[in-house]
C-alpha cells in the first residue's frame, strides 16, 4: 500500500514538474522544475530497490547537471520571456501521443509473451550497491572505463569551449568597455 501511494504521489509530482519544465516561458522556472523532477525520479529508483542508481541520480543531476545549467544560464538573459515556436500544436501533441502509444505497445509485447530471461539475476541476500559494484567491475569494466574517459573528455571539452575569453569579466567592466566588447562580438 505504501508503495502504491508513493508511486502515485511521485508520479504525479514528476509529471507535473516536467510539464512545467516544458511549458513555462520563464527559464528560471523551467530550471527549478527540472531539478525538482530529477529528485522525484530518484525516489522511483529507491522504491525499485536500485539504491545506487538513486544516489547517483541525485548527485549527478541535481548536483552536477543542475549546477552546470545554472552556470550556463548566467550567460544568458534569463529575465526575458522565452520566445516560443509558432508551430502547429496538433502536430506536437499528435506526434508525442503516437510515440507514447507505440512505445507502450513495444514494451508490452514481450511482457505479455514472458520470454525474458535474466542474464545477471539479482542475488537475494546481497545489497544492491554490492551487486552493482560486482557487475560493474567484471562484465561492464570496459564500458565503465570508457564512460569514465568520456566524462573526462566531456569535462575538458566543456571547459575549453566555454572558457574562451574567460578572463574578461562583464561585472568589473565599465559600461563603455562592455559596449566595445559587444561591438567586437558583433564584428567577429
Amino acid at each position: 500500500m505504501f508503495e502504491a501511494v508513493a508511486f502515485y504521489l511521485f508520479a504525479f509530482l514528476t509529471i507535473a514538474m516536467f510539464f512545467i519544465t516544458v511549458t513555462t516561458s520563464q527559464a528560471l522556472y523551467a530550471l527549478t522544475a527540472l531539478a525538482a523532477g530529477m529528485i522525484f525520479i530518484s525516489a522511483f529508483f529507491f522504491i525499485l530497490g536500485a539504491d545506487f542508481l538513486g544516489v547517483i541520480q541525485i548527485i549527478v543531476y541535481t548536483g552536477a547537471v543542475m549546477a552546470l545549467y545554472a552556470f550556463g544560464m548566467m550567460f544568458f538573459d534569463t529575465t526575458r520571456k522565452v520566445k516560443e515556436k509558432r508551430g502547429n500544436r496538433y502536430i506536437i501533441v499528435g506526434l508525442s501521443t503516437l510515440t507514447a502509444v507505440l512505445i507502450v505497445v513495444i514494451f508490452a509485447a514481450p511482457m505479455v509473451s514472458k520470454n525474458i530471461v535474466a542474464l545477471y539475476p539479482v542475488i537475494e541476500d546481497a545489497g544492491n550497491i554490492q551487486l552493482v559494484g560486482v557487475i560493474l567491475f567484471t562484465k561492464y569494466l570496459i564500458p565503465f572505463e570508457v564512460a569514465a574517459i568520456m566524462l573526462l573528455v566531456a569535462m575538458v571539452a566543456g571547459i575549453v569551449l566555454a572558457g574562451k575569453k574567460m578572463d574578461i569579466s562583464l561585472t568589473l567592466m565599465s559600461s563603455e568597455e562592455i559596449k566595445k566588447e559587444e561591438n567586437k562580438k558583433v564584428l567577429s
Binding site: L31, A100, V122, L131, V132
Partner: protein, 101 residues
C-alpha cells in the same frame, strides 16, 4: 493495489511524451536541453523498473551509463552553447541555419 511493471512503463512513456513535446516545441536551445534530459530520465525509469521486476541488473547498468552520457552531453553541449552565444548573441534555434542543404 499492487504496482506492477506496467505502471512504471506507462509513467515512463508519459514522461517521454512530455519530453518529446518539449523537443518539438522549444525554440530556446537551453530549454531544448532540458527536454532531452527529460527523455533520458524517462528511459532510465523504464530500465530500472524492468531491472527490478525481472531481477536482472543489466537494466540498472544501462541506466547508469545513460546518466554518464547525459552528464557528458550537458557538459559539451553547454560549452558549445556558450561559444555560440558569444558569437551570435542569442541561442535561438531559428537562427541556426548554416547547415542549410
Amino acid at each position: 493495489m499492487e504496482i506492477g511493471l506496467n505502471h512504471y512503463l506507462v509513467l515512463s512513456t508519459i514522461l517521454f511524451a512530455i519530453g518529446l513535446a518539449g523537443v518539438i516545441k522549444r525554440k530556446n536551445l537551453l530549454l531544448l536541453f532540458f527536454a532531452t534530459e527529460i527523455l533520458l530520465n524517462s528511459v532510465n525509469i523504464a530500465f530500472a523498473a524492468i531491472s527490478h521486476y525481472y531481477g536482472d541488473l543489466t537494466g540498472q547498468m544501462f541506466a547508469f551509463f545513460i546518466i554518464a552520457i547525459a552528464a557528458s552531453e550537458v557538459a559539451v553541449g553547454l560549452g558549445l552553447l556558450i561559444v555560440w552565444y558569444k558569437r551570435h548573441g542569442n541561442i535561438d534555434l531559428e537562427t541556426m541555419k548554416s547547415m542549410r542543404g
